[in-house]
């Protein structure tokens, strides 16, 4: 089948993998992750600054806009290690906003925003709405153009890290067509952001009310590029979440193995019971498949056709693998598994939010089926 890709790595990926492995492990021990659950901001601004200084936000931004000039393939090892260590920051949303700008932004819009992002300014995307549909073009928020201004109305949901973001890129309909609007967060009226309670307590999410927000007409993306922008966003989000979920699956399996190797019942280490051992092996096998798909997706990134197949395979496999591994992790920790103190729940919750944001495994498969069979 010729729309199936291969697997390979770049030197830069491998270097970043090493650095990210150490950085995320050292900066995001689980007690710190847990302490941040009760923090308003939800992340350590010092670490966010370091991430900016490491140049990680600049990786997939072209050199012409002060970026490093690599691609999403090189972002993958970083997102993977962040997911593995439950390190929440606006990294993912900022990276996606930059990708959106690259796909749909005008030269002037890119020149205005990409260098800022490369230097460490946070940004985010506002795409989801009350209908809960994963189809990004099924939206009701609108913009109406009058003269040089566009007034927006409607509500966007699940806008990650909106309170930290300098830039919010929102999808709205203008004259019935989807368009993207660049909104400087500082221009939002008082009370436009409502913090949402999301299942993943390590994330921060907001509902953004657009009513009363006005932007200049030149803060819209070109109408002609909406389609490719939507596609690019969907794939970039699929890839980055697949990376986080793959890292998360690795972590939750390792966490469970630790318990299976130490906890004793009936005088035996519970990991010697096949009722626990065999499903753990199954989860591990599924995780390795997810990691293979992840690096295949990174490798095929940007390739017409193959890229989308590979990303959706990675997204589907990582979501199902992460969900199952975390679900079984709760069970295999017994009574302790049911507590807030057990890390298994952190992962189970995170997998649910990721699926909610990009579309779960079944949704990814339905998109894949169209690519593979029709």
């Amino acid at each position: 089948m010729d729309n199936l890709g291969t697997i390979g790595t770049t030197e830069e990926q491998i270097e970043l993998m090493d650095v990210a492995t150490n950085f995320c492990r050292d900066k995001s021990p689980v007690d710190k992750v847990r302490a941040l659950i009760d923090d308003d901001l939800g992340y350590d601004p010092g670490i966010w600054k370091e991430i900016g200084e490491l140049g990680w936000l600049a990786i997939a931004i072209p050199e012409a806009h002060d970026g490093v000039g690599l691609s999403m393939a090189e972002v993958v090892p970083i997102a993977e290690q962040m997911g593995r260590n439950l390190m929440s920051t606006p990294f993912g949303s900022t990276t996606l906003a930059a990708q959106a700008l690259l796909a749909g932004g005008s030269e002037a819009q890119q020149a205005a925003w990409l260098p800022k992002i490369a230097a460490g300014a946070a940004a985010t995307l506002a795409l989801r709405e009350d209908n809960g549909d994963w189809d990004l073009s099924n939206i009701d928020a609108t913009g109406s153009v009058s003269g040089d201004n566009v007034s927006l109305s409607g509500k966007k949901q699940l806008v990650l890290w909106a309170d930290s973001a300098e830039l919010i890129i929102a999808s709205v309909k203008i004259d019935g067509a989807v368009r993207f609007a660049l909104i400087e967060r500082s221009t939002l009226p008082e009370g436009s952001l409502r913090r949402e309670t999301v299942i993943d307590e390590t994330a921060r999410s907001y509902e953004v009310t657009l009513d009363g927000v006005t932007i200049p007409a030149d803060a819209l993306f070109d109408a002609g590029r909406t389609r490719e922008t939507l596609e690019k966003i969907e794939l970039a989000a699929g890839l980055i979440h697949a990376a986080e979920m793959t890292g998360g699956a690795q972590a939750v399996i390792d966490y469970t193995l630790e318990y299976l190797k130490t906890r004793k019942q009936f005088g035996k280490i519970i990991g010697s019971y096949q009722a626990l051992k065999h499903p753990t092996v199954n989860n591990y096998v599924e995780y390795e498949k997810a990691r293979t798909h992840l690096y295949s997706a990174a490798h095929s990134w940007g390739e017409q056709g193959r890229g989308e197949v590979a990303v959706r395979m990675a997204a589907a496999q990582s979501h199902s693998s992460y969900s199952t591994a975390a679900d079984r992790a709760i069970q295999f920790h017994g009574g302790f598994g049911f507590t807030h103190d057990c890390d298994a729940q952190l992962h189970r919750r995170k997998a649910i939010l990721s699926g909610a944001l990009i579309g779960d495994a079944a949704y990814q498969r339905s998109k894949l089926a169209n690519l593979l069979f029709d």
Binding site: T6, T9, T280, V281, N282, A316, A362
Partner: protein
């Protein structure tokens, strides 16, 4: 090993191999070809496959990267990969001598004496000598370490008594890799075992055929009654049988490879399954319009693509830091279970026609899918069951304690 070839050299070689297999591959000899080496049932099949293997060997596409001095081609292993790819492309038949070329051969190349290598390797590659494996016994299958077949030293000979079972190609083989007990007082069951390169066509060894679930033949029970073999047949030293068996299993289960070329088990072509699904009807519509079927089918595509790419990834140390033995050890488990599920799933496509079997003119694809499904258990049971494989992955890749 020989130097890594240039891209141009490989390309030339690939063109030669393509041309050769295009010209020489017989896909339909007029009778049903076995899907795996474990189900060579009739003389017709055996003779055909033996000729085929010899022909491929003589053309240089089998054992291409094995040492020249023992009959191999002495080339870099990349050449062999290219040749095998050509075989797949032209849908070549399987290689008959799997136990010889796949596991006994690599073992002898790794640990055999010069004399053993001279004696055994070349006729193995040319299919002159077929090999079989005598590990399992009627009472000791998964518990291989408990093998009880007796080998008692008597001067320059060993006297063998006992029985082996499920011996694939056992009635056709000239040699058997044999696990037997030489010491009944050893401190533990493993320490009493020894490993032999055992001649089959001698007095005291008989076989009786066993009919498989498919209705075909392919394996036998082997009986040893005061069979006398030369002490030279001992391999790896007395008492080292367990370690030799484990080294054999590394090859058998795909944890280690010394690519000889060709394949021993016919791989499933996903596109064939997609075609089958497209041509099947459900509620008056193409089956692939059914959302549940689409979803399952897609998941299988994801699984197959992952396993195929795992084979590449396991050779990439940069992506294998975390649990380096994980992919090699899980290979057999994941692949064989997937094939079983997928072939079972293919029956669901056939609607009422799922009721037919090989031999009926109404059977879809002459019953190929049914036969494939029934045969798929050969790989989920043979070579260590999936349950045993899970224990192995758990213990050796994930570090969980042993199941006792």
């Amino acid at each position: 090993m020989a130097d890594k070839p240039s891209a141009a050299e490989l390309k030339d070689y690939a063109e030669q191999a393509d041309a050769w297999f295009k010209e020489n591959t017989v896909r339909d000899p007029g009778f049903m070809l076995p899907l795996t080496f474990m189900e060579v049932s009739t003389d017709e099949q055996f003779d055909f496959l033996r000729d085929w293997q010899r022909k491929v060997y003589e053309a240089g596409y089998l054992g291409a990267s094995w040492p020249k001095e023992y009959g191999g081609g002495g080339l870099h292993s990349e050449f062999q990969r290219v040749a095998t790819r050509a075989m797949k492309k032209y849908d070549a038949p399987i290689m008959l001598n799997a136990i010889g070329n796949g596991w006994a051969g690599p073992l002898i190349l790794d640990l055999g004496t010069e004399e053993q290598k001279q004696k055994y390797i070349k006729p193995m590659l040319s299919a002159e000598d077929i090999w079989c494996q005598g590990f399992s016994e009627p009472e000791n299958g998964s518990d291989l370490g408990n093998a009880q077949l007796k080998a008692v030293r008597d001067g320059d000979e060993y006297v063998l008594n006992g029985s082996k079972i499920w011996t694939s190609l056992g009635d056709r083989a000239k040699y058997m890799i044999l696990l037997a007990r030489t010491d009944f007082d050893a401190p533990n069951k493993y320490a009493g075992l020894s490993f032999f390169l055992n001649p089959m066509k001698i007095d005291g060894i008989t076989t009786s055929r066993i009919k498989k679930l498919t209705g075909e033949y392919g394996f036998v029970q082997t009986f040893f009654t005061d069979a006398r073999i030369s002490a030279d047949c001992l391999f790896g030293g007395e008492g080292n049988g367990w370690s030799m068996a484990m080294k054999t299993l590394e090859y058998e289960r795909g944890a280690k490879v010394k690519p000889v070329g060709g394949f021993f088990v016919k791989e499933l072509d996903v596109m064939e399954i997609v075609e089958l699904a497209k041509n099947s009807v459900r509620n008056g519509k193409p089956l692939l319009d059914d959302p549940v079927m689409r979803d399952k089918m897609t998941q299988y595509m994801i699984d197959i693509q992952a396993l195929n790419l795992n084979n590449t990834r396991r050779r990439m140390p940069q992506l294998m830091q975390d649990k380096p033995m994980g992919l090699p050890l899980m290979n057999k488990l994941a692949r064989t279970e997937l094939i079983r599920e997928l072939t079972e799933f293919s029956l669901a496509f056939q609607g009422s026609k799922a009721g037919y079997y090989v031999g009926d003119e109404n059977a879809v694809d002459d019953g190929y899918w049914h036969r494939s499904y029934l045969n798929s258990f050969s790989a989920t049971i043979g070579g260590g069951t999936s349950e045993i494989q899970r224990n192995i992955v758990a213990e050796h890749a994930l570090g969980l304690p042993k199941t006792r």
